[in-house]
């Protein structure tokens, strides 16, 4: 066996496990989602599973089932997509802002207890999202919640943070919890990226008389841009996932769709798998689309040092 051939064989076997796993656990299920969305699935009797073409999607988009039109169906899906998008944008922007600010303070400034702060900010990330939902439920609770107790101390009326009805603020409350849990994680990422920026750039700009804020916008931000773009995609995926758990625990039995997010709508349909998969396809397209758009609008010339 020639050396080249041997090398190729080695590469093949080294890559095989990863490729097989990626194929079996990523590609295959994704393809299956697309396939299953075209069927009416019977879990208990495979013989009764039948191909229905795009029927599931027609129901989703027009609300048409067996000749009856239920306009609430597409309305619900639209609302849940709107809510998901809202959370992606709001949580993304606020988290990004706070995380970069914290990261640059912790890296660039000479603070006492730097490491302690770092740990404290990171702690929410170690907690399970279910625990976080539990914590925030206790914080937001209307009668005995922490937040209402605090604002009550200042003489303000209690607020129904997770309330229902037409002027609810439940989405903002959920966004608050998500920001709290996400900041630490992204902060650590930005810190790692910030510490690679050479010190001499800052020294030079300081000599030229630039202030901290000027430095932030003209050195830190441009050199961090690549990392920020990568994390934006993370935001989209993790917000879609986390919002599901948060909504299920904190606002799950909400009868209406004020706090509904797309994965929640999907989970409600587990007795009709094909239809649920159709929602899955929409979720896939949605997250893909949002990521592409975000990537396109954040495209800048990359700076190197």
């Amino acid at each position: 066996m020639g050396r080249k051939k041997q090398q190729n064989l080695f590469v093949f076997f080294a890559l095989a496990p990863a490729v097989i796993c990626f194929f079996a656990f990523m590609i295959l299920p994704t393809v299956r989602i697309f396939l299953m969305s075209l069927f009416e699935v019977n879990k208990y009797d495979a013989a009764q599973t039948k191909f229905v073409g795009l029927n599931n999607f027609i129901t989703l988009f027009t609300g048409k089932i067996d000749g009856t039109i239920i306009p609430e169906i597409p309305l619900k899906i639209a609302t849940s997509l709107k809510n998901t998008l809202f959370l992606v944008v709001i949580v993304g922007i606020i988290t990004l802002f706070i995380a970069i600010l914290m990261a640059s303070i912790l890296v660039r400034e000479n603070l006492k207890f730097k490491n302690l702060f770092r740990i404290i900010f990171y702690i929410p990330n170690i907690l399970s999202i279910v625990v976080i939902a539990g914590i925030f439920q206790a914080i937001y609770e209307k009668e005995f919640g922490l937040l209402n107790a605090v604002i009550g101390f200042f003489g303000m009326k209690p607020v129904d943070w997770l309330g229902t009805g037409s002027n609810t603020i439940v989405l903002y409350s959920l966004a608050g919890a998500m920001v709290w849990q996400a900041v630490g994680y992204y902060m650590v990422m930005y810190m790692a990226s910030l510490s690679t920026i050479p010190e001499h750039l800052y020294e030079a700009s300081a000599l030229e008389g630039a202030g901290k804020i000027y430095e932030f916008f003209h050195i830190t931000l441009p050199l961090l841009w690549g990392t920020i773009r990568t994390t934006l995609t993370f935001f989209v995926v993790s917000t879609i996932n986390l919002s599901f758990v948060l909504v299920t625990v904190m606002a799950g039995s909400r009868s209406d769709n004020e706090a509904s997010v797309i994965l929640f709508e999907m989970a409600k349909q587990q007795s009709v798998q094909g239809y649920a998969m159709a929602i899955g396809v929409i979720t896939f397209m949605f997250s893909f689309g949002v990521s592409v758009v975000m990537n396109a609008i954040t495209k800048r010339e990359t700076y190197e040092f």
């Binding site: 879990k43 599931n56 089932i65 009805g165 625990v249 039995s253």
Partner: protein, 431 residues
């Protein structure tokens, strides 16, 4: 040396596992029982297992009682390891039983009711109300029974004995209008007339009101008759419930839609903030540790669900069910196990160990009292339909009442939506 030891240990282990494998094979039949761990707990299931094993030597009962039994059941079905006996109810979020029923995967249990226990056929032991309950015959054109009734619970209108009753300020309503008529008096005292733990608790009150209009209407209701919700009769009934908006305890919806909030509504009832609520007999047990907050609370009064035009006489019945799947391996043994639950001895055991779980047989005081007080038990079971994507009838009818009450949905729109869900299901009834 070392290697030798390891080798011999390995050999020993192999031998042991081989032995245990053969030992299992020689063992005779095993019966797999899956039970949902409800408020009744699991002790009575353990006791049933012990007594069945004792009565049937050579049979091993593999019992699985869990709060996650739906997941376990679905996994078992996916791997074709069908359990023999299943205790799980309809009306739960995951709709597992509904799906099994919809897929025609239930075993016909007609022969079960011929089985003899304590020398009597099961059909003569089970009280007629429960034996003939519609909940056992889910299919529209098939009068065979596919479930066995266990642990019946009774739902009625519950009132606060401190304030309601003879010689008290408020009277027990016979109709919904009687209830609404007390609004002025209640408003003056700053009390609300009504609350519900969650709107799902109205699933006995609404059917009882429908039945009060007419038995035919109730039949059409459970059969998803096409166009039913365009009829004035039906609209009258549902509009009555939409009127609850004016008399409801203001925090009801907020509580009903938050996790565990139904307890808060029940607490508000105990505290005398709301006079009436629909609830089951189990509420006494459920709220035992909560009512401490109000020392003055004298207790729960139970009465029939109000009627629309006539005086209410119905109590809603919530029957839980056990079933056998078509694909189960030991169907005969499974039926024998279910039958054994109705033996005089086991009825007693279930009551003692199951936190007061009842069996629907003669001589149970709670069930006898109903008849003694002139109440009738009304069972409302819908015909089996296919699971339809995007349609949830119970959500449309009951859950969305929350929205009617908090003002985000008008009564007309609510009724219209229920009608649409109804018509779609009508087209998907299982034959």
């Amino acid at each position: 040396m070392n290697k030798k030891i390891i080798a011999s240990v390995c050999a020993g282990a192999v031998l042991l596992t081989a032995c245990s494998g053969t030992a299992k094979k020689t063992e005779s039949k095993s019966l797999v029982v899956y039970a949902f761990e409800s408020a009744y707990g699991k002790d009575h299931w353990e006791a049933l297992k012990a007594s069945f094993e004792k009565a049937n030597p050579g049979v091993k009962v593999e019992l699985k009682v869990s709060k996650e039994i739906e997941t376990e059941l679905e996994n078992a079905i996916a791997t074709k390891k069908f359990p023999d006996v299943v205790y799980l109810n309809k009306g739960r979020d995951k709709k597992v039983v509904e799906s099994i029923e919809g897929a025609n995967a239930l075993e016909n249990l007609d022969s079960l009711f011929e089985e003899k226990v304590d020398g009597k056929a099961l059909k003569d032991i089970i009280l007629p109300t429960y034996l003939n309950s519609a909940s056992l015959t889910p299919y529209k054109d098939n009068k065979s029974k596919f479930y066995a009734p266990v642990f019946p619970g009774t739902l009625g209108l519950v009132y606060n004995k401190n304030l309601v009753g003879e010689g008290k300020e408020f009277s027990i309503p016979k109709t919904w209008n009687d209830l609404f008529a007390q609004k002025v008096k209640a408003d003056a005292k700053g009390i609300s007339l009504f609350t519900y733990p969650t709107p799902g608790y109205l699933d006995a009150a609404v059917p009882a009101a429908i039945y009060d209009k007419s038995a035919d209407l109730h039949k059409a209701f459970t059969n998803y008759e096409k166009g039913l919700y365009a009829k004035q009769e039906m609209k009258d009934v549902l509009t009555t419930f939409a009127k609850l908006k004016d008399v409801i305890y203001p925090e009801t919806v907020a509580n009903a839609t938050s996790e565990g909030g139904y307890l808060k509504n029940q607490q508000a009832f105990i505290d005398g903030k709301a006079l009436f609520m629909p609830n089951g007999t189990w509420v006494i047990q459920e709220m035992r540790s909560y009512k401490a907050g109000n020392e003055k609370f004298e207790g729960y009064g139970f009465t029939a669900l109000p009627g629309i035009t006539n005086a209410g006489k119905f109590m809603g019945s919530f029957e839980e069910t056990v079933f056998v799947m078509k694909e189960a391996k030991n169907k005969d043994l499974a039926k024998k196990f279910i039958a054994s639950m109705y033996s005089a001895e086991n009825v007693k055991v279930i009551r003692e160990k199951g936190n007061g779980a009842l069996m629907p047989v003669a001589g149970v005081p709670e069930l006898d009292d109903l008849a003694k007080n002139g109440y009738e038990v009304l069972n409302t079971t819908f015909v089996s339909t296919k699971e339809v994507a995007g349609v949830n009838f119970k959500e449309a009818l009951y859950k969305n009442l929350n929205n009617v009450i908090n003002g985000t949905l008008t009564a007309e729109k609510w009724i219209e939506n229920v009608g649409k869900a109804n018509d779609v299901l009508n087209a998907n009834i299982n034959k």
